[in-house]
């Protein structure tokens, strides 16, 4: 039985510039029905049909899970990326018809928590928009610490401050404001769960300090989507389907496999869910692993690859697809 998600036909109902880097997109169902309910921390995969190319990127849903008339996502423009965010910023306008996946949650709240301590960096704020709305509606105990480069790039900082007041603390890099992480982590009541979403350096720092200060691993949750990185083109043989494909510079391996008419299952397209894990049959060259799914040992074994985010450089690669 195949896994993966059901698709939703939507129309862009609004496009709102939030600041110089971030734009918010609103989706409604084309048939006028309500969208599926979701839980705070869920994402959807947005299909971007850009001429001949289709890119599929995951974005956290940032609206309140209590309101399913529309979904909202926030997209940060990445000028060095593969063009997904640029496509969204430059091409997508209200009335544009798009296809998105059903929501999937790989960054779920642990509802047993006595308190939810949330740490956000930059655009990593988006899953917390939905999670705080969900918790606030039910009297949940949470505290959000949000680091941004400048006040003007503090996406939704004003909204959050207004909604939750003292439960939100802001830190601005340009004013040299820093989270006192050790003190923060050591003053939380027993039963607190920690959630962190932001740049990978920040996630690594928070996880390391939490472990050193005695936070058990199951109390530390992190959202760690890797965006597929561009890279040198490479050739791949798909042994099961008997196809030879070429992965373009701006294309992910998964997208190239799909473009050849082979559809591996996926949920996140960000190297965390494990669905598209693919066996390597033969290779002559080096893997560029970018996922957070396979263990280091598996990375070194050269027997598996996550085609959503990882690449290859070398003479030949044969995959079991």
């Amino acid at each position: 039985m195949s896994t993966g998600t059901t698709k939703l036909d939507v129309v862009v109902s609004d496009v709102v510039p939030v600041n110089e880097l971030v734009t918010r997109f609103h989706f409604r169902r084309r048939d006028g029905q309500l969208l599926p309910t979701f839980s705070g921390g869920a994402h959807v995969v947005v299909e971007m049909r850009d001429g001949e190319r289709t890119r599929l990127n995951p974005y956290s849903l940032m609206g309140s899970p209590l309101d399913t008339r529309e979904y909202t996502i926030s997209v940060r423009r990445d000028d060095a990326g593969r063009g997904g965010s640029l496509f969204m910023h430059s091409t997508v306008r209200p009335g544009h018809e798009m296809v998105i996946s059903y929501p999937v949650n790989l960054f779920s709240l642990d509802l047993r928590a006595r308190k939810h301590l949330m740490l956000a960096g930059g655009i990593g704020i988006t899953p917390f928009m939905a999670q705080t709305a969900q918790l606030a509606a039910d009297g949940g105990n949470f505290e959000l610490h949000y680091t941004c480069r400048t006040a003007s790039l503090g996406t939704y900082a004003d909204v959050l401050k207004e909604r939750y007041d003292r439960r939100v603390r802001l830190y601005h890099d340009d004013r040299d404001e820093r989270i006192e992480l050790d003190r923060l982590l050591s003053s939380q009541p027993l039963g607190t769960h920690l959630y962190v979403c932001g740049p990978s350096g920040m996630i690594g720092w928070v996880r390391d300090r939490a472990a050193a200060l005695g936070w058990p691993a199951e109390t530390v949750h992190f959202e760690h989507f890797a965006a597929p990185q561009p890279g040198a083109p490479f050739e791949v043989t798909l042994a099961v389907s008997g196809k030879a494909i070429r992965v373009g510079e701006q294309q992910s391996l998964l997208e190239a496999i799909e473009a050849a008419g082979v559809d591996p299952p996926y949920l996140c397209r960000g190297g965390v869910c494990g669905q598209c894990e693919t066996n390597v049959i033969a290779h002559d060259g080096n893997f560029i692993h970018n996922d957070h799914w396979l263990s280091e040992e598996e990375h070194r074994s050269c027997k598996k690859i996550m085609p959503c985010v990882s690449r290859f450089e070398g003479r030949s690669l044969v995959l079991e697809r």
């Binding site: 047993r112 928590a113 006595r114 982590l185 050591s186 003053s187 939380q188 009541p189 027993l190 039963g191 607190t192 472990a211 050193a212 200060l213 005695g214 936070w215 058990p216 691993a217 199951e218 109390t219």
Partner: protein, 198 residues
């Protein structure tokens, strides 16, 4: 130790020092030896942030050895029940960074873990080491009463009197093994009781 069993039967480890800000030990009788063994591996100053709750039991041993570790707090009490209010208070006021270590009989480990779970600590982060008796706490699935210190198979429920097969199926929430009427289908079948949980 227990023979080959089923997955719900608890598995105990060996106490080892964990990263953390505070260390809470709960032990009975020979469980003290698990703490002194850990002390041999612990970094200097480890016990300066430690609280030991100890129930020495009838033999009354090991108190001096634990006091010699110079924990920040030391308590000894006559029974787990007498230590429980203190344990609950400690957990209620604790912060993240507190690490629990439980050592001794299965009954002690199970009941201290129950208190820790209720305080919001996940069982996977609790260090345990079994020392001493394998006597079981058994919940009668029929009347729900818990019989303490069960050593025989089958065993009689101290509440409703049914003859119970003591299974390896274990509930952390109840801190008890499951007891199911062994002759429910035909009460005239009375298997002999053997002492097997010592």
């Amino acid at each position: 130790m227990a023979a080959k069993s089923i997955i719900s039967r608890p598995v105990y480890g060996t106490l080892s020092p964990q990263p953390g800000k505070h260390h809470l030990f709960v032990a009975d009788a020979d469980g003290a030896l698990a703490i002194t063994d850990l002390a041999a591996k612990a970094p200097d100053g480890f016990f300066a942030d430690a609280h030991i709750i100890f129930i020495p039991g009838n033999e009354g041993q090991h108190v001096a050895a634990l006091e010699a570790l110079k924990p920040a707090q030391f308590y000894q009490g006559p029974s787990f029940a007498s230590a429980l209010p203190r344990l609950k208070q400690t957990l209620a006021n604790a912060h993240m960074g507190l690490r629990p270590y439980l050592a001794g009989t299965e009954g002690l480990i199970g009941q201290a873990m129950q208190a820790a779970l209720e305080a919001g600590i996940d069982h996977t982060s609790i260090q345990t080491e079994h020392r001493g008796s394998l006597a079981r706490r058994v919940q009668c699935v029929h009347c729900k009463g818990i019989t303490e210190s069960v050593t025989t198979q089958p065993a009689t429920c101290s509440h409703c009197g049914l003859l119970l097969l003591v299974r390896d199926h274990y509930s952390r929430r109840l801190a008890a093994f499951q007891g199911v009427c062994i002759n429910a289908e035909d009460r005239s079948e009375i298997p002999p009781a053997e002492e097997i949980f010592r």
